[in-house]
C-alpha cells in the first residue's frame, strides 16, 4: 500500500492543534452548513455540504489523533482514507471551497470549516495531491516572484509604461518611503488601470509611498494552494522590501486573500511580528477620507458593493468600503444579503485558478446576478481583483448587461483635481 495517503494523514494530524481538534470533534452532522455554501446552493448536491468536504480528514483525526484514537483503532472502528479516496476528495477540498467562511456563520458549533479546509490543503499539497494548474501557479510565484509571471523586470516595464500612458507619477524603488504599496498580479496583467488608480489616490493625498521590486506581489498562492513554503517566501519578500525602504505601513491592493495572508497570518508564517502595519486599500482610503485627505466629486450611478469574503467576513474590514462610499456614491445600495453575510463570488481560495472548476464557478455567478438585479444596481464594484476577475468571467459567459468595476478606480475617477 502506498503511502502517500499515510503521509497526508501524518501531515494533517501533526498540524491539528486544540482549535482544529475541537472543530473536528464537535461537528454534530446537522448539515446546516450546506445552507450557507454557494456550491451547495447552486447545485443542491449534498456532496458539497461543507462538513462532508472534511469527512476523510475528520475520520483520520478520529483514527489517529483524537482522544481514544487507540481504542478506535484497536476495535477496527476507524478507517483511514486511502489514496484513491483522497484523490477523489480533491474536488471537494480544492474545487468547491473558496474558504469564504460563510458556513461558519450558520454552524451551531461554530466550526471554522475554512481553516480546516486550509489545513487539509496543506497536507494534500505537501504530498502532491491537488489540481495541477493551481500548483503550477503557486510554483511560478516562488520562481519568478508572481503567480502570473510578473518578474521584477516585467514589473518595472509595466510601471514605466503605465506612468507614461496615464501621466501619473508611480514611484518605484524609492530609497525611503513611509508607505510600501503592493500589487496583485491579476491587476498587473488584467486590470492595470487599478494600479494607476491607486497611484492617483495616494498622490492626491500627498502620501510618501513607493513600490519595490524586492517585494511587490501581494497575492499569495502559497496560502491558496496549501504550499506552506511558497506562502512563507511571498511574505518574506514583502517584509524585506518594507524593511529596505523603511516603510511603517504596507498597503494591500484590491485582493482579499492577500490581505488575509499578510494581515492575519503573515506574522505567524514569518515567525515574528510584522515590522509594519498592514492595511487593505479600502481601509487606507477610509482613513484618508476620515483625515480629510480625499476630496471627491459626488457620483450618482446606481452602484452596489460586493464584499470580498477575506476582507469582510474573514478580514473584519467590512465597514471600510462603506465608509469610502458613504456620502460620495449617492446611488449606493446594498445587495441582500450583504456585508459579513455576503455570498462569495465563487472564485476565491484559488478556485479561480482551477480550470476544471469553471462550470461550477459559473453556476455560482447566478446567485450574484440575481442579487445585483434585485438591488437594482447597474454597477457592482468590488475591492478584490480576484473577485472581479471571477465576476467578469461570469458576466462574459452569461452576456450579462451590468457593469463590474473596482472601488479604487471609481474613487480615483472622482478625485477633485487640485
Amino acid at each position: 500500500m502506498s503511502n502517500v495517503a499515510t503521509q497526508v494523514i501524518d501531515h494533517f494530524v501533526s498540524q491539528v492543534g486544540a482549535q482544529a481538534a475541537t472543530w473536528l470533534q464537535s461537528c454534530v452532522h446537522c448539515g446546516e452548513c450546506a445552507e450557507a455554501c454557494h456550491f451547495y446552493e447552486v447545485t443542491k448536491d449534498p456532496r458539497y455540504t461543507p462538513a462532508w468536504k472534511l469527512e476523510p480528514f475528520a475520520r483520520a483525526y478520529r483514527a489517529r489523533k483524537a482522544p481514544f484514537a487507540g481504542v478506535r483503532r484497536a476495535l477496527g472502528l476507524a478507517k483511514e482514507p486511502d489514496e484513491a479516496e483522497l484523490n477523489e476528495w480533491q474536488e471537494l477540498i480544492y474545487d468547491s471551497c473558496t474558504m469564504c467562511g460563510r458556513c461558519t456563520m450558520v454552524c451551531p458549533m461554530g466550526i471554522d470549516i475554512a481553516s480546516l479546509v486550509g489545513l487539509a490543503r496543506k497536507s494534500m499539497a505537501a504530498n502532491g495531491i491537488g489540481p495541477e494548474d493551481l500548483f503550477a501557479v503557486a510554483e511560478k510565484s516562488r520562481e519568478v516572484g508572481s503567480p502570473l509571471g510578473v518578474t521584477p523586470e516585467k514589473m518595472e516595464e509595466r510601471i514605466d509604461w503605465l506612468s507614461d500612458e496615464h501621466e501619473v507619477d508611480i514611484p518605484l524603488n524609492k530609497e525611503k518611503a513611509e508607505v510600501l504599496l503592493t500589487i496583485s498580479s491579476i491587476e498587473t496583467m488584467k486590470y492595470p488601470q487599478s494600479i494607476v488608480a491607486m497611484a492617483q489616490v495616494l498622490n492626491h493625498a500627498g502620501i510618501d509611498w513607493t513600490f519595490s521590486t524586492k517585494g511587490y506581489e501581494a497575492t499569495n498562492f502559497g496560502v491558496l494552494s496549501g504550499k506552506a513554503d511558497v506562502a512563507k517566501v511571498m511574505i518574506e519578500r514583502i517584509v524585506a522590501a518594507a524593511e529596505s525602504v523603511g516603510a511603517k505601513t504596507v498597503i494591500i491592493p484590491e485582493c482579499g486573500h492577500a490581505y488575509g495572508a499578510l494581515r492575519w497570518t503573515g506574522a505567524m508564517m514569518l515567525g515574528r511580528p510584522l515590522p509594519f502595519e498592514v492595511f487593505h486599500i479600502t481601509e487606507y482610503l477610509a482613513m484618508l477620507k476620515r483625515d480629510g485627505k480625499l476630496k471627491l466629486k459626488p457620483m450618482d450611478d446606481a452602484i452596489t458593493y460586493h464584499d470580498p469574503c477575506q476582507i469582510s467576513r474573514r478580514g473584519g474590514a467590512t465597514e471600510a468600503a462603506r465608509e469610502v462610499l458613504d456620502g460620495f456614491a449617492t446611488g449606493f445600495r446594498e445587495m441582500s444579503p450583504t456585508g459579513n453575510a455576503n455570498w462569495c463570488c465563487g472564485g476565491g481560495g484559488g478556485v479561480a485558478a482551477i480550470q476544471r472548476a469553471t462550470p461550477l464557478r459559473l453556476k455560482v455567478f447566478e446567485i450574484k446576478m440575481k442579487q445585483v438585479e434585485d438591488s437594482g444596481a447597474d454597477i457592482m464594484v468590488s475591492a478584490c481583483a480576484n473577485c472581479r476577475q471571477t465576476l467578469d468571467g461570469g458576466k462574459e459567459h452569461y452576456k450579462w448587461d451590468r457593469e463590474i468595476g473596482s472601488l479604487v478606480e471609481i474613487v480615483a475617477d472622482h478625485l477633485v483635481k487640485a
Binding site: 448539515g31 482522544p67 511580528p273
Partner: protein, 213 residues
C-alpha cells in the same frame, strides 16, 4: 443481588466512572494539544470574540433563520425538553438528592409530562430529518444513529417507568441510561461539552480580525 441492585450498584458505578473519566480525558486530551500561536496585531479582543461566539451561536443570525428554522426549532424542543425532564423530573431530583444531598423543587407531574413530550417530539423529528434530508443522509454515520438511538432508548425506558409500578422498569431505565453514559465519551455526544471550546476558538480567531461570524 437483584437486577435493580445491580443496575443501581456496580453497573452504576462503572458507568459513572467511565462517563466522568472519559469526558474529562477527552476534554483534557483536546486542550493539551498545541494551541496555534497567532502573533498578528489584533483589531479587536480575541477573548471578547470567543465569548461572543458562544452566545451568538445559540441562535441563528446573519439572516439564516428561515433556512435553518426546522433544525433550530426541533433542536431546541429536544434540548430544552431534555434538560427540563432530566434536572427537574421529581424522580431525577430524588435520585440526585440520594447521591449528592442536593435538591431543588421538581416540576409537577403535568410539567414533567409536557417536558417529556416536547423532548420526544424534538428527538424524533431530528432523527427523521437525519433519514429524510438528502444533506443529512449524506453526512450521517453510524455514530450519529447510535447516539440518537441510545438517547431515545433511555428516554423511552424512562417513560415506561413513569407508573413507578415495578423495580424491573426502573432497572431497565437505569440500564439504558448506563449504556448511554458508557457510550457518551467516545462519541459525537461529546458535543455537549466541546461546543463551548469549538465556538470559543472560532470566535477568538475571528474576533481578533474584527468580526465574529
Amino acid at each position: 443481588m437483584s437486577f435493580l441492585e445491580f443496575t443501581e450498584g456496580p453497573l452504576w458505578y462503572v458507568a459513572l466512572v467511565v462517563f466522568s473519566v472519559g469526558v474529562a480525558w477527552n476534554i483534557i486530551g483536546i486542550l493539551a494539544m498545541r494551541v496555534r500561536g497567532d502573533s498578528a496585531v489584533p483589531r479587536k479582543s480575541p477573548v471578547a470574540g470567543g465569548i461572543k461566539a458562544i452566545f451568538l451561536h445559540m441562535a441563528p443570525h446573519g439572516g439564516f433563520f428561515s433556512r435553518t428554522a426546522y433544525h433550530v426549532i426541533v433542536g431546541y424542543l429536544f434540548h430544552l425538553g431534555l434538560f427540563a425532564l432530566l434536572l427537574f423530573g421529581s424522580f431525577h431530583v430524588a435520585f440526585i438528592k440520594e447521591w449528592t444531598g442536593l435538591s431543588w423543587t421538581p416540576l409537577p407531574r403535568w410539567g414533567f409530562i409536557i417536558a417529556s413530550e416536547v423532548a420526544f417530539a424534538g428527538l424524533i423529528l431530528m432523527w427523521i430529518r437525519r433519514w429524510t434530508d438528502p444533506i443529512t443522509r449524506q453526512i450521517s454515520d453510524r455514530d450519529d444513529h447510535i447516539g440518537t438511538g441510545l438517547t431515545m432508548l433511555a428516554m423511552l425506558t424512562g417513560c415506561f417507568a413513569l407508573g413507578e409500578a415495578s423495580d424491573g422498569l426502573r432497572a431497565v431505565h437505569m440500564l439504558s441510561v448506563e449504556l448511554l453514559m458508557l457510550y457518551f465519551p467516545f462519541s459525537r455526544l461529546m458535543h455537549a461539552f466541546t461546543f463551548i471550546f469549538s465556538r470559543y476558538f472560532m470566535g477568538a480567531a475571528y474576533g481578533k480580525r474584527g468580526y465574529v461570524p
